[in-house]
């Protein structure tokens, strides 16, 4: 488990930025799901466990809705304005649900072409910010490693561990 005394929790400045941006727009639908969890089933501490991922939900819960799509577009828009030091390639896990991947039969947790995303604005934003992969329903997963000096591996490799997804919601 992460000790805040000697580990930078990378998720914190990202959440802070999102929260401050929402405040500027008086937008109140964002729910922070979880961002720090225990190790996965294999005992590896990656992603959420290492404090490098965030799960976001919407107050109305379902990600089938247009409102959820709009929230995700909005959040990715916020991220385009992240301070430079945090603005490295980010991975986005989005549900297979209607407004995102249109219930296509895709493998979860594996990076896919942004062309598979239904919404054009979302495609543009993901292209600008990083990469996308299908994920579990009803949340937006964001992963990053802005502390890493060589972000190159991170850009191509989906570090999201399948085992992590079932531990918590």
């Amino acid at each position: 488990m992460l000790n805040p005394n000697n580990h930078i929790i990378q998720a914190l400045p990202i959440i802070h930025h999102i929260a401050e941006s929402a405040k500027k727009e008086d937008y109140k639908e964002i729910i922070i799901g979880s961002f720090i969890r225990g190790a996965d089933k294999k005992g590896a501490c990656t992603g959420h466990c290492a404090g490098r991922c965030i799960d976001l939900n919407i107050s109305s819960r379902s990600f089938e809705s247009v409102a959820a799509l709009q929230m995700v577009v909005r959040i990715l828009g916020y991220l385009t304005n992240l301070p430079d030091k945090y603005k490295k390639s980010m991975g986005f896990g989005m549900p297979l649900q209607g407004q995102f991947f249109g219930h296509q039969n895709l493998t979860k947790y594996k990076g896919v072409s942004t062309t598979l995303l239904k919404n054009e604005e979302l495609r543009k934003l993901v292209n600008q910010l990083g990469y996308v992969f299908p994920d579990n329903d009803n949340h937006l997963h964001i992963q990053f490693n802005w502390l890493s000096k060589s972000a190159s591996n991170y850009e191509t490799e989906v570090v999201y561990e399948e085992g992590e997804s079932y531990e918590n919601s």
Binding site: N3, P4, I8, L12
Partner: protein, 183 residues
């Protein structure tokens, strides 16, 4: 208004935000300060109140980072050995420590607030060469070299946003009953 006062739980290993049902009503912080209760005997401290205030003071006074060291001091007052004290055992042991330190009985409240912390800090700095930085979040975030301060500053800023309702944390009830909703 609800506020989470403990991004740093007493257990330093856990840096999760508290779930909303563990949120603490902030209103009493103004009226019930440290050493200002109506407790006649330290044995009957208001443990619930002490726990709540200790969560707040742990962060604002910065002593949460030194929890292990404080725990060591208080252990002998708890009747326990080699454990990390629970929040209630912590405040009860602290009340005894306050008494042993010669605080007025009304000040033996189990709350590690500014007054008690001033004394405790002295004791800690005599025995250890440790840095204590009780700074409150200001306009600019600490650098990443100050790991804990960096984390704390951002955590507190996020909590501010939560308090004003711009972001919310998911309900733990929901977490328990809807396990596979998301990941």
């Amino acid at each position: 208004m609800q506020v989470v006062i403990s991004p740093v739980k007493v257990n330093q290993e856990n840096f999760e935000f508290e779930s909303p049902d563990e949120y603490i009503d902030d209103t009493e912080f103004d009226s019930q300060n440290e050493n200002e209760g109506s407790n006649f005997f330290f044995e009957s401290i208001n443990t619930e109140n002490a726990i709540q205030l200790n969560r707040k003071y742990g962060v604002t006074l910065g002593w949460a980072t030194l929890y292990d060291k404080i725990n060591d001091i208080l252990l002998s007052y708890s009747g326990l050995e080699s454990v990390s004290l629970s929040e209630s055992a912590f405040s009860e042991a602290l009340a005894k420590w306050q008494k042993a330190q010669g605080f007025n009985s009304s000040d033996c409240d189990g709350i590690l607030g500014p007054k008690t912390w001033a004394r405790m800090k002295q004791l800690l700095s005599n025995t250890n060469s440790i840095q204590v930085s009780p700074s409150l979040p200001s306009g600019t975030p600490p650098t990443i070299e100050n790991t804990f301060e960096f984390n704390r500053w951002h955590a507190e800023k996020i909590l501010e946003n939560m308090n004003t309702g711009f972001v919310r944390a998911k309900l733990s009830i929901e977490r328990a009953t809807r396990k596979n909703q998301s990941g």
